[in-house]
């Protein structure tokens, strides 16, 4: 039970407002995607990040453009936080030429290597191995770039997690593992799928430094990631951050959301909305006024509206290009 939320005293107002803006952008984009899905304009799958925005925002705040992110099937938030323009994310889900994968990919195949988004994935697991491989490159090339892998609690029980974290550990690779523990893999509770729901303890068992944080508290995520990115970039080997969080929408749009979790549980987590929490904290601490925060919200809304319009008015890809890029040519 939270009584009163306070913004991190150690963070300056600019940082806090930028985190607020970042989370809000993701939220507004996801809300736009939900509406587009309901209108039938998104032809394929759409897993939203609503409720988990603090994690991508708090982690990516510490990344440079040349750092890389390997994401999941629930990757819109990671893409936006890493710098993919909203119109390219929305455009991709609409299957348009201007999407970040030129309409080839859709939600689970977002790519924007220009800004370090190395892909979302339709298969659970490979991102863990690929991010570790990117870290191997950086080590071989003697670069101080950081590789980040986002993954869910469901992925923790896949062999890829164990193989990746073990290799990262034995070779001191510069990879940051960010587990977004939202307690369910589709409808399977994490507590059913494992006898040890403590992901940090698993990291420790592989000799990897780690900490867990409240994934709905953007300041906590920001602070933990500051330490984690510092550790990884400083050449001290891999690091794991476990963020405890919750998705407040169904696993994917169009799916039912009953029978595996209670309405009560969902409402309780909605009370802990990361965006509302930061807003309240900023307000309680008299760091920002209602007007300031509302002005930010209006600007974000306008940007996302414009991005949606741009995306909706862009062309579909030319069918004759269906086979381009199979090879490097």
């Amino acid at each position: 039970m939270q009584t009163e939320t306070h913004a991190g005293a150690d963070l300056n107002l600019d940082t806090l407002l930028s985190l607020y803006r970042g989370m809000l952008s993701i939220r507004k984009i996801e809300e736009a995607l939900v509406r587009l899905y309901q209108l039938g304009h998104i032809p394929g799958a759409c897993h939203t990040y609503i409720g988990q925005e603090a994690i991508a925002t708090g982690v990516c705040a510490h990344l440079r453009q040349d750092d890389v992110v390997f994401s999941t099937h629930r990757g819109h938030g990671h893409a936006v936080a890493k710098g993919v323009p909203p119109e390219e994310v929305i455009g991709e889900l609409l299957g348009r030429m201007t999407g970040c994968s030129r309409g080839r990919g859709g939600s689970m195949h977002l790519f924007s290597p220009e800004v370090g988004l190395m892909g979302t994935t339709g298969i659970v697991g490979p991102n863990l191995l690929q991010s570790t491989g990117a870290a191997l490159s950086f080590q071989l090339l003697r670069l101080d770039r950081v590789s980040v892998c986002f993954f869910g609690d469901g992925a923790v029980n896949n062999g890829a997690f164990h193989e990746a974290i073990n290799m990262a550990a034995i070779w001191d690779l510069p990879v940051l593992f960010v587990c977004e523990n939202n307690m369910y893999a589709t409808e399977v509770p994490f507590a059913y799928a494992t006898r040890n729901t403590d992901v940090v303890a698993r990291a420790a068992s592989y000799g990897v430094a780690s900490q867990d944080v409240d994934g709905n508290d953007v300041v906590a995520v920001f602070n933990a990631s500051a330490q984690a990115v510092d550790h990884v970039r400083g050449g001290r080997g891999p690091y794991l951050v476990e963020c405890r969080t919750y998705r407040t929408r169904p696993h994917a749009e169009g799916m039912r959301d009953v029978g595996y979790r209670t309405q009560d549980e969902v409402s309780q987590w909605k009370q802990r909305d990361p965006i509302a929490a930061l807003r309240t904290a900023l307000y309680n601490d008299a760091m920002a006024t209602e007007e300031q925060l509302s002005a930010i919200e209006e600007r974000v809304t306008a940007t996302v509206d414009a991005a949606r319009e741009t995306a909706e008015s862009s062309p579909f890809p030319d069918p004759s290009t269906a086979t381009s890029h199979i090879f490097s040519e």
Partner: protein, 327 residues
């Protein structure tokens, strides 16, 4: 006969086999209380409980490997992948272990395992959820690979798969799952054998061998062509391995012309295999070269116009058959 959906029919088959043989069990993600992402096990959890409908962690390589061991020791696992693409994480288990176990043990071990899931292009499922790959699976000795097209075949072939002592890949095209068709009453214990094609439409001008969803597309094409007096015989092999060449060659003896319509890739695919067998065994029956209509040899794109461009449709099939008749 009553009409039910493909998924309902297959589920009925599974239910009957689970009732008949207590060594049959199902594993997969969300196949317990939830009843399966595609309702493949809906209602069965209440009937058979968590021991026999076992929800797994996301550990495909792990649970296939485990089920291999289970199949070696007296039980009959049915592994439900929802999307069959997810099996690829366990290619080593499939090819090096399951397919070879009977051979390696000189026939002293059996391998009664069914691996099932949906395949195929449709609904902007994109590149990680649209795979077919059955030509590739059938390349490996040791597998039975079945690809039912109608609800009746789905039920009868799944029952055969579960009773088989050989490993079976049971592949369900995602666009067929909700199609309806006639299925015998529940008390009729109909088993459809592997390696027995079904002649879905009779004709005397062209033999069209079609797989999975392409059977339906080819039947539509045949209907249109009939209006111009072109009579197409449509053959659904139903299983890719073993392949019923007898039925295919019988038809060719009647028509002299053959097209193979397959959503799966052309290179080293089913069409190439059938054409080679025809050249070998029935060269003199051919009045024209064998034609192939295949999905485009590319990863499957998401955007609807791109996706539509990589799958054969009614018009491409009609065009190919008209060309073939004109030869």
């Amino acid at each position: 006969m009553r009409e039910i959906t493909y998924t309902e029919a297959a589920r009925e088959g599974l239910d009957e086999e689970m009732a008949r043989d207590s060594s049959v069990f199902v594993v997969g993600e969300g196949i317990g209380k939830r009843g399966g992402n595609f309702n493949t096990t809906l209602g069965l959890f209440d009937k058979y409980g968590p021991q026999r409908l076992r929800d797994t962690p996301i550990a495909e390589r792990g649970f296939i490997g485990m089920c291999t061991g289970a199949a070696m020791t007296g039980t009959r696992p049915v592994v439900d992948f929802m999307f069959f693409d997810f099996i690829l994480d366990a290619t080593g288990e499939m090819i090096n272990q399951i397919a070879k176990m009977q051979y390696m043990s000189s026939g002293r071990l059996k391998m009664p395992i069914v691996l099932r899931g949906c395949v195929g292009v449709g609904g902007s499922s994109a590149t990680h959820h649209s795979g077919n790959y059955y030509s590739f699976y059938s390349h490996v000795p040791g597998w039975r690979v079945v690809l039912p097209t109608t609800p009746r075949d789905a039920k009868g072939l799944l029952k055969s798969a579960i009773r088989s002592d050989d490993p079976v890949l049971f592949l369900e095209h995602k666009l067929l799952l909700n199609t309806r068709g006639e299925v015998p009453d529940p008390d009729v214990d109909e088993l459809i054998p592997f390696g027995k094609a079904s002649v879905r439409r009779e004709g005397t001008d062209v033999t069209a061998v079609a797989f999975g969803m392409m059977v339906n597309r080819t039947l539509e094409a045949a209907e249109t062509l009939a209006q111009d007096g072109i009579r197409v015989e449509v053959i659904d092999p139903r299983s890719v391995a073993p392949l019923d060449m007898e039925t295919i060659l019988e038809s060719l003896a009647k028509t002299g012309r053959m097209v193979i319509v397959d959503e799966d890739y052309g290179p080293a695919g089913m069409g190439a295999e059938i054409a080679a067998l025809v050249a070998d065994r029935a060269f003199d029956e051919l009045d024209a070269p064998v034609r192939r209509v295949n999905g485009v040899h590319t990863p499957i794109p998401y955007s609807p116009p791109l996706e539509a461009a990589v799958v054969p449709n009614r018009d491409t099939i009609i065009g190919a058959i008209r060309d073939l008749v004109a030869e």
